[in-house]
Symmetry: D2
Subunit: 349 residues, 4 copies
Amino acid sequence: MLFFENDYGEGAHERILERLRETNYEKLPGYETDRYCAQAREKIKKACDCPQGEVFFLAGGTQTNAVVIRSLLRPYEGVLAAKTGHISCHEAGAIEYTGHKVLELPEHQGKLQAREVEAYMKKFYGDESHEHMVFPGMVYISHPTEYGTLYSKEELEELYSVCAAYKLPLYVDGARLGYGLMSRETDVTLPILARCCDVFYIGGTKVGALCGEAVVFTKKNAPEHFMTLVKQQGALPAKGRLLGIQFDTLFTEGLYLELGRRAIETAELLKEAFRKNGYTFYLESPTNQQFLLLEDNQARQLSEEVCFSFWEKPDETHTIVRFVTSWATEKEDIEKLEKLLERCRKNAG
Amino acid sequence: MLFFENDYGEGAHERILERLRETNYEKLPGYETDRYCAQAREKIKKACDCPQGEVFFLAGGTQTNAVVIRSLLRPYEGVLAAKTGHISCHEAGAIEYTGHKVLELPEHQGKLQAREVEAYMKKFYGDESHEHMVFPGMVYISHPTEYGTLYSKEELEELYSVCAAYKLPLYVDGARLGYGLMSRETDVTLPILARCCDVFYIGGTKVGALCGEAVVFTKKNAPEHFMTLVKQQGALPAKGRLLGIQFDTLFTEGLYLELGRRAIETAELLKEAFRKNGYTFYLESPTNQQFLLLEDNQARQLSEEVCFSFWEKPDETHTIVRFVTSWATEKEDIEKLEKLLERCRKNAG
Amino acid sequence: MLFFENDYGEGAHERILERLRETNYEKLPGYETDRYCAQAREKIKKACDCPQGEVFFLAGGTQTNAVVIRSLLRPYEGVLAAKTGHISCHEAGAIEYTGHKVLELPEHQGKLQAREVEAYMKKFYGDESHEHMVFPGMVYISHPTEYGTLYSKEELEELYSVCAAYKLPLYVDGARLGYGLMSRETDVTLPILARCCDVFYIGGTKVGALCGEAVVFTKKNAPEHFMTLVKQQGALPAKGRLLGIQFDTLFTEGLYLELGRRAIETAELLKEAFRKNGYTFYLESPTNQQFLLLEDNQARQLSEEVCFSFWEKPDETHTIVRFVTSWATEKEDIEKLEKLLERCRKNAG
Amino acid sequence: MLFFENDYGEGAHERILERLRETNYEKLPGYETDRYCAQAREKIKKACDCPQGEVFFLAGGTQTNAVVIRSLLRPYEGVLAAKTGHISCHEAGAIEYTGHKVLELPEHQGKLQAREVEAYMKKFYGDESHEHMVFPGMVYISHPTEYGTLYSKEELEELYSVCAAYKLPLYVDGARLGYGLMSRETDVTLPILARCCDVFYIGGTKVGALCGEAVVFTKKNAPEHFMTLVKQQGALPAKGRLLGIQFDTLFTEGLYLELGRRAIETAELLKEAFRKNGYTFYLESPTNQQFLLLEDNQARQLSEEVCFSFWEKPDETHTIVRFVTSWATEKEDIEKLEKLLERCRKNAG
């Protein structure tokens, strides 16, 4: 069975496993006070060209979102996000559980538009009864988005400038950041990202780690006693080394970007394979998630030999599906997929 | 520097690392639906002689306590715990963050007494205005306790019978359960524990895993949609395999108990070393945490060559300290410690 | 200055003030255990033809919504509501503060459609990853809605039948219920309402009381220890008499409905006055809230002599405004308004 | 039946009822933006000699405590309070519901001691692992306390100076403040109180109002958008006039203090009556709550003719009970009680 279902189907890049083994018997202090966490912090700050950055490690995306968002919002505030944002729909209410509303904005292939954020703010403060409403207190975006799309440098700058004008911290969910940074169609680099937002996280879980996300506060703006909040929300690991060693490895000799590059390479091959065989893309994605619009029987047929995700049913006879490549996808996987697609085409023809 | 500071100073038992490597490229479904989680569940249920058990994996102790406790309490209820219970003092308010009060009871070397729980319940329901108070809704104990002490089978049965009489679920925090089970002075086994409580967790982080705790609901009483709660509280890992493979390994060929046994063995040697050299124990602990009452200058002197934890200052001139052994402690470590103690004694003499 | 801004601009119906004075020195037990609360409960149950009803008194709408909704939802659930529902937008995040998401559905002149609720439920349970999403756990509607519109008996029955099929409790916010019940275009009575939902509240604050809403659980389904939740959420008044006496008075000799009738009478006259003078209604409302689509300069001109609410700006040159009558509106107020409208028309003509 | 059960057994002082009637048909804006709220604010600030004060009105004590405490604490903080503090035990977990721990300190006849607060802070910051614990973030006291006792000016100053040194806001729950201010044994006035704390509330519900507490932030320290928090926690009344008119009346011509004085007068007579008849006081209270240590059969006998509160059972044969006077207690009530006590004494003798 071919596997294109997601980018967390394997364990970790082997260099990570090696480092875990090599360091296994070193006796290290707990709770992210060890030297590997320290090293990883330095390397990340350097990669971001952000010497004033403050870096923290958490184990997974949902907890990272919940902790960061809660730490930035005042109690009367909510977080602005696209209707399709991960926090809006796929985290089981984790943000509302912190007591805050997710204020939904329209999405454009998964992205927010700066001018719509601006319009929202103007309307909000123009409303006489806004003291009876949830104050918009920050902006959440994902990059790449849930649809694999990317903000351009210009879009990011525009959005950040609106945020700055309204004193809204901008937070970027980088669960798949590595794949975004290595897209062939992006002009956003780590330093640019660090410059254009207040806090973001570098996703490890989906980019070669066993688990782990690195939160970077970029403007000397880490909330006071942030680690106590992390602890209170149950997200502080006793063996911080597990996260420190992984990120230290990912940020040694450019491994993180290298893993991103690999997935993009196979994603581009995968796109070509689908294109050549006459498939329709639901939207143009320049990263490792590809969305296709299939006829229902096409989808059924493919699902017998490939693992992929069903996304949505736009009408009675079609299905939108997602194919994902990852750091661990091999070119051979794509070749096999291509053969399958050819076979399907012939059978259908 | 000798290391007796805690039991999470190393990585993981090497068999775990091996299994992670062996399984690394298997493509597995996420969120604890993979086969290793399934296998681990079966092995744990068997080890507990609890075929009807329901097993879930979480990454750490604080999140496990917060999720389990919240899942069992109704909104008007709080959790009864010893004043020294981990949830009472060392989790940064993680329980209160879920909206529930920790109702503190007196502790007896870290333990609750069944009759004090009973007295509390009687007083509570005898109070005419109890509808204006927090209802006691469950009981939390740790085994071993924060002082390394253990409940006897009889104490556990007594407590559970009081709990049953008042319909209070009994929850056992087993962060160090492996060390408790292998104590030379316990009559509590995994099956007995499973029988004498409603839910408990088997601690992995402190007993040989990189991270991970296995929650066991023992009476077909797992709350509905428990995994959605886990997700909502940010505790559901995408790569559930990381927990599944570890627990599968720990419960293969008795590794978990074997790791417990090792720490007890070195703990007993450590006790003897202290005893022989005339040290005073703060209390009698039959597990891997040992508490000593030192004179301040003794403490200072030892701290130059050994890592251990400062616990409390009972008076102006003394200090209570904690020495901990773990699955990774070697007999050589104890021998070195013994030599150090002898040297200190001679210098002092 | 004429006043049509809202229906809480005056104090209370004078019979209420009289009863407060008459009973002022009776020594009554606190926390809604007094005889007036008991009497009011009985009268309300009788008026609802709902002998098994359970009635509780709270002081205001937001707290009532927050307490009732929290009491019915399990922690992994959210509440379905129209995008324009009061809880969705005008309660400062009071529902999210309880930890629950408001799941927004499209609105049709303020109302939910049964078939859209059904479609939502089908889609939710059809989604393979629904365990990672907020479970829809109840339905909230307001009657009259925020736009003054009403559900017909048939619509209510349809909605309730969908709710029943999916085991979703249906909760009706009756902040302005009195005005809905006495509309000339409704076939919904108190007994019908009680039959067609699981819990609703009878609004006092906007229908002649100083404060107070009466919550009615209609199916012997009041949550356990509901008053403890009320207390915990800060909504239990020490002097429960203040609520008991008011509702006892409102439900004596049909005062509540009589107050509703009065506001409808003046609302109908107000509609006629606007219609005769060529104004455009934004929508058809059969209750005491009337929405008009004005040209901006019309709105400005009127606002010099009348208090009303600005609602929305549908485009650059128009404004939607709200005129409200209440139990305290006098026919003379309408006559004065009518003269003003005539004057405006002549000036414009 | 004589009534000494509590101080919220009657309605409101009649001047309040009169003012409610006189102003009943004035059309006033909602949500505490009316002129009576404004007037009351000014009068209160004047009475407190605190021109920079910021005054808000809430309906009851529990909601006031929950809103004020949540508004002052950062998410990683808890509130220090006496073990017997109202928020520690009699508010159904309302503070924990806001996500914050109540950190209990020993009580001395209901009072905190400045030096114990200081010792707590020193120990907390001395603990190496305090980042894993709940940070003490403010201090809560009640004045009078739950035992009717009072802080002296000196005690208050001392406590406030410790609070200031540790940047802990000091919050005073004044549910019964009027009775404290008029005690014959106090040197604390409203201006002194305003000077010696960061925020306090002037209790109305128990001192002559139908409901209502006036929160005074004394140091230009009202949290941003405080009213939005009040709304979010369900505590903002649509008819703010109900609170404004009451406090305006209470602070006109010294009515509030006058009501306090009356309860003290009858309390002193009540004390004398008990003393003359040989009763034992559980503790010395200089305010309107009096605690007596009765033999069980004494308690039973009295309860046949008087309403009072059972407080606690200190041993098998005794009961501690509470007798309360209020603004509405008449001298005749005391005379009747005195006769009863005499009768009891004779029967016993």
